[in-house]
């Protein structure tokens, strides 16, 4: 039985993990995709489906953490144009 606060905690954990990518595009993609994924399933009423979706997201969180560690080994050499402050 997955509670509302657990789901929100998982969402927050995924957003926090995605923030640590050194790459602008991966950061933005993770943020966009996790929010879209959680929104897509937000109206599920069947508790077993909710548990399924929660388990899937938890597995994705593990993959995400590993991916962040890997990508941090090879940070980009130049600053992305989108990160340059507009003057």
């Amino acid at each position: 039985m997955v509670s509302r606060s657990e789901v929100l905690s998982l969402c927050r954990a995924m957003l926090r993990a995605g923030r640590q990518y050194p790459h602008y595009n991966l950061r933005e993609y993770t943020k966009r995709r996790t929010l879209d994924g959680f929104r897509m399933n937000k109206n599920l009423t069947d508790q077993s489906k909710v548990n399924e979706a929660y388990a899937e997201a938890k597995a994705q969180l593990v993959v995400l953490e590993r991916s962040v560690k890997f990508h941090s080994l090879y940070p980009p050499k130049t600053k992305n144009i989108m990160e340059v402050k507009l003057q």
């Binding site: 606060s5 927050r12 959680f38």
Partner: protein, 122 residues
């Protein structure tokens, strides 16, 4: 060496004694010039920046945003949008808000209070 001294002699600024009377000196003496508490953000700055973050959220109508606005009741957002806004506030002020506290932040007032009272906001 001689050149340096010659240049410095030209650059010497004449010292002027400021004509301050006793009452002014008393007032200036009470200003703590090296106080570390001055580093903390002023409440106005916190309010402005929090409102900017909320207004720049795409699902929000900027004209409805006030310092007392409630995210779900007044702005019509849902809990995932609240999570997103709190994350954006964390990034703006370089904070790490623990889950327990972040769950409680559901309006601009609470967000402003939390950021203002947090010692590490910048």
């Amino acid at each position: 060496m001689a050149l340096r001294n010659a240049v410095l002699r030209q650059l010497r600024v004449p010292v002027q004694t400021l004509g301050m009377n006793q009452s002014q000196i008393g007032f200036l003496g009470s200003i703590r010039s090296f106080s570390s508490n001055d580093d903390h953000l002023s409440r106005e700055a916190v309010v402005d920046r929090v409102l900017d973050v909320v207004k720049s959220f795409p699902k929000v109508d900027p004209s409805k945003v006030t310092p007392e606005v409630h995210f779900q009741n007044d702005l019509g957002l849902d809990s995932l949008d609240t999570v997103e806004i709190v994350m954006a506030i964390e990034e703006e002020f370089k904070l790490e808000i623990p889950d327990k506290e972040a769950d409680k932040i559901d309006s601009c007032t609470l967000a402003i209070e939390y950021v203002y009272n947090h010692p590490m906001s910048s």
